[in-house]
Amino acid sequence: MPAASVILVEQVRSPGLSILRAFNYDTYAAANCLYIEAVKQMHFMLLFSRQGKLRLQKWFIAIGEREKKKIIREMTQSVLARQPKTCNFMDWKDLKIVYKRYASLYICCGMEDQDNELLTIEIMHRYVELLDKYFGNVCELDIIFNFEKAYFILDEFLMGGEVQETSKLSVSKCIEESDLMQETMEEYMSKPTF
């Protein structure tokens, strides 16, 4: 249970923004703090091919399936339409899109206004390095046929749109150990692997 006796009085939701008004019984003076929950984080990370085929989608905000599809379709079109040798940033609707092309794959992140774009480029690069270390000279086919592994690696690196672990070695080690756990359990149950 929450430590302070705070009750939720009012909640107003509009897309991307929530205003919660809470009343704190303990400290009347501090009452009526307006908690503004703005979705101020990475919204999504997408990987897609040069033909626009989706290879990985990770969403960090809660929106409906149809909206997701719409965003993916429009955004991939916008990114693919960009000229070569332009900067890696694009203003799209009210988001900033940071994208980078690695061979035949595009990685795109949808960011909020306050986020540091240059750091996002580092984040995307770190993810590609992790994939590279795991698969050994990663190419698009690796990600197609082992998409679930790509997700596992991503979930070990990012959570809620934030970086979990800043050490490359540490993340790689954890993935390897998790994989080992997988095999071991399979042997235990002597069931076929997939």
Binding site: M1, P2, A4, V6, L20, A22, A30, C33, Y35, E37, K40, L54, R55, L56, Q57, W59, F60, A62, I63, G64, K69, Q83, K85, T86, C87, F89, D91, N116, E117, L118, L119, I121, E122, I123, I144, F145, F147, E148, Y151, F152, D155, E156, M159, G160, E162, Q164, E165, T166, S167, L169, S170, C174, E177, S178, M181, Q182, M185, K191, P192, F194
Partner: protein
């Protein structure tokens, strides 16, 4: 016999061989059917594999909701493989809006206490990605407990799960505060990173918490120092910099803590200076840190030396070859252009050069920044850059550029002619991208530049000869040709090469506009009115105009039809009034922001007592509405025409201070004879019981407002009272609506009316009055001269 199940990778391979969308759909449907029946059979053998296949098909865009419950079963399974795929499925197929997500809560709770850290990790990760507020409330204490675990792997994941909880349920902030203070002392970078993010989230959402955390600024500074000074650490090294991710997050937190707080800002001054000067900028990682440092310096109460350092860093970024760096430099400069305007001005040259960059994003930022940097000193040179940019820029930027240029020109125009030239240039190059209010604004501007009428109409005429597709340009041009067509026909102009134009040619142009399919209905209306105005300004071709007007009397467009019919009436029944009605427009002022709401009363012959009252409105001359409103009948006496029009036909709206121009005007008695501004009132007329008193107020420059009060000392009321006035040639006069037309007998009340005078040459003020009224059944008319105006009224 259990059906055999296709392996995941085999399925992927098969689906990729499909040559058409239809073929792929067929394969998917078949596989989905197999998977569905396997789910129905509750067979745990291949559940994991089936869900994995389902997730693949989901990524291709096919529905996969029937796998949601299976994910729940996988999560509940004891096998690690199952849990891994199950949690992945939960994150991909479920989100907090689904009711099914609540069912995972129990499984997550169990897994949070599992002996294997990787299973705990899976549970924390899932909670941190898709936990609903209810789930967060249920599991918050578990997460808080894990924050105190001994295992770094768990601690760092718990910290980020707490971040998610705080985002969804901010009331739980207090729960996590004790643990975070301890976590800041950790050595593990992952844990530190997660903790810093958690503190950042908490401080952003709760001002109380922010106050509490100001105490940790010294600790954060120490951590930064450690990162910068430490030697090479292979684990966290990126391009020679130790853990840029952590550095950036700490800088971000310092920014939040130092914002609006002098003590905290002071404590971090040194470290910021150190980072700003020592960071290696050859790689992106270094630049990311430097960027965050600059943002922090600008947002806290830093000393001026530090701010200068920050702006200089941005200046260096602007010159960087890397487009990304230039882009973010401009974005940051845009944020600080209001607060540190002079510092940003120093880089104006580089910014303006970026307008020519090939990159669309860079161009956009350069445009925004350039427009923000225009001021009175550099407006000419900036426009020299911005106008060519407008010619060549991508279409999505045209509208913003045009509006920006207009605003800048309005604020900083060095001369009226320059202003008009600039606007004409924009209209000719990007006319279809400008906003709607530019047309009336431009018309006001042109009217107020009386010395440039000839120049303006010549330029506009030339422009319209070239191109009639851009509606705003055409509208302004037709308005001008209508108003000042006589100047065009004289063939004389001092400022620009005059054109030898015949009346026929001008009428041809206007008729082309009327008939062209490119003209919008509004443009047509402008053209028709312009034609009508010309009927009083030309000599020979009035019949031609009459013919055109009568043709449009049966036009399908109702708006045009009404105009044409009324203009026809002007030709026929009210021909004696035509020249007065269609005189030159008086001076207008750009008034209140909602001057678009004010509409002139249009009807011919109807009387209205007074405008809508706007009690207490600042004294301002009325804003004459746009020519869209028919028959703006505010007359201005020209050299050739002696009289202003009867007031009831016009209807500007803004009231005058203290004068309630409602019908009846009881308040006027209270205010009669008030002396404004120290200029003595005069009795302008006093005869036969009717007395007119003038009181004066000077406005800015050469504007004067005269308020007249008409009183009647005879025994019977004076009805149908009409006041008309004329002034010398160089003076402009504008009559406003009177408060009424009955002057009550025995001085029981009065009629008041405002007269606006513009006397730019400051000639001695004289006025000729014409009065007409009815008393006791007979009508009286009188003409008088007023020459006893006090000197202060016109000097």
């Amino acid at each position: 016999m259990a059906p055999s199940s296709v392996k995941l990778q085999e399925l992927i391979r098969v689906i990729r061989t499909a040559k058409t969308q239809a073929e792929e759909r067929g394969m998917i449907q078949k596989e989905c059917a197999d998977i569905r029946s396997a789910f129905r059979d509750e067979d745990p053998a291949f559940r994991c594999r089936n869900v994995a296949k389902l997730l693949y098909m989901h990524m291709l865009g096919y529905p996969a909701h029937f796998g949601q419950m299976e994910c729940l079963k996988l999560i509940a399974s004891p096998r690690f493989t199952d849990k891994r795929v199950g949690y992945l499925g939960a994150m991909l197929l479920l989100d907090e809006r689904h009711d099914a997500s609540l069912l995972i809560t129990n499984s997550i709770k169990n897994d949070l206490n599992h002996s294997s850290q990787y299973i705990q990790g899976l549970a924390l990760c899932t909670l941190g990605c898709m936990g609903s507020p209810e789930m967060c409330r249920d599991l918050a204490t578990e997460v808080e407990r894990l924050l105190k675990a001994s295992n770094s792997y768990i601690k760092k994941k718990a910290a980020l799960a707490a971040v998610h909880i705080v985002r969804k349920v901010p009331e739980l902030i207090e729960l996590f505060i004790p643990a975070t203070k301890r976590l800041l002392g950790e050595k593990n970078h992952g844990v530190l990173h997660g903790t810093v993010i958690l503190i950042t989230e908490m401080c952003e959402r709760s001002p109380d918490t922010l106050r509490k955390y100001r105490k940790v600024v010294p600790e954060l500074v120490q951590i930064m120092k450690g990162l910068i000074m430490s030697g090479y650490s292979p684990e966290h090294n990126v391009a020679g910099i130790s853990d840029p991710f952590l550095q950036v997050r700490i800088l971000c937190l310092l920014r939040i803590l130092g914002h609006h707080d002098g003590d905290a800002s002071e404590a971090m001054n040194d470290i910021l200076a150190q980072v700003a000067t020592n960071t290696d900028t050859s790689k992106n990682a270094g630049n990311a840190i430097l960027y965050e440092t600059v943002l922090t310096i600008m947002d806290i109460r830093s000393e001026s030396g530090l701010r200068v350092l920050a702006v200089n860093i941005l200046g260096r970024f602007l010159l960087n070859n890397d487009k990304n760096i230039r882009y973010i430099a401009m974005m940051s400069l845009l944020k600080m252009v209001q607060t540190d305007h002079n510092a940003v001005q120093r880089h104006r040259g580089t910014i303006v050069d970026c307008l020519k960059d090939t990159d669309a994003s860079v161009k956009r930022k350069a445009l925004d920044l350039s427009l923000a940097l225009v001021n009175a000193h550099n407006v000419r040179s900036m426009m020299k850059e911005l106008l060519p940019f407008l010619d060549n820029c991508p279409p999505e930027l045209r509208s913003d550029c045009a509006s920006g240029v207009f605003l800048a020109a309005e604020k900083f125009a060095p001369s009226k002619r320059w202003h008009i030239d600039t606007i004409l240039r924009v209209l000719t190059t990007a006319g279809s991208f400008v906003r709607d209010e530019t047309v009336p604004n431009l018309i006001v501007l042109i009217t107020n530049a009386s010395e440039l009428y000839c120049y303006t109409v010549h330029k506009l005429y030339r422009a319209v000869l070239n191109d009639i597709s851009q509606q705003p340009l055409v509208q302004v041009a037709s308005w001008c040709i209508g108003e000042y067509g006589d100047l065009l026909l004289t063939g004389v102009c001092e400022d620009v090469e005059p054109m030898q134009v015949t009346e026929d040619e001008v009428l041809d142009v206007l008729e082309t506009l009327l008939q062209s399919h490119m003209s919008s209905p509004a443009t047509r209306a402008y053209a028709l009115t312009a034609l009508m105005k010309l009927s009083t300004r030309i000599r020979d071709n009035v019949d031609r105009i009459r013919k055109v007007v009568s043709i449009y009397g049966s036009c399908i467009d109702v708006e045009l039809q009404q105009r044409a019919v009324e203009y026809n009436a002007l030709f026929k029944k009210y021909d004696h009034m035509r020249s007065a009605v269609l005189e030159r427009m008086p001076l207008m002022e750009k008034g209140s922001p909602n001057h678009n709401d004010q509409s002139a009363l249009i009807s011919n012959g109807e009387r209205e007592g007074g405008g809508e009252t706007q009690g207490g409105v600042k004294l301002q001359p009325p804003v004459a509405s746009q020519t869209m409103d028919l028959l703006d009948l505010i007359g201005v006496p020209d050299a050739s025409l002696p009289e202003a029009l009867p007031q009831p036909l016009s209807q500007p709206l803004t009231g005058q201070t203290g004068i309630e121009s409602s019908v009846g005007g009881e308040l006027l008695d209270l205010l009669g004879g008030i002396d404004f501004g120290g200029i003595p009132s005069i009795t302008a007329y006093n005869k036969n019981g009717l007395s007119l008193e003038f009181s004066f107020q000077r406005e800015q420059g050469s504007l004067l407002t005269i308020t007249l009060q008409a009183r009647n000392s005879t025994a019977s009321d004076m009805t149908e009272f009409i006041f008309q006035a004329a002034v010398p040639k160089t003076v402009q006069l504008q009559l406003q609506a009177p408060s009424g037309d009955v002057v009550p007998a025995m001085n029981r009340g009065s009629v008041s009316q405002s007269i606006l005078i513009n006397n730019p040459n400051r000639v001695a003020l004289k006025m000729r009055l014409r009065l007409s009224y009815s008393v006791q059944g007979s009508s009286v008319q009188d003409v008088a001269e007023v020459s006893n105006f006090p000197a202060q009224a016109w000097q």
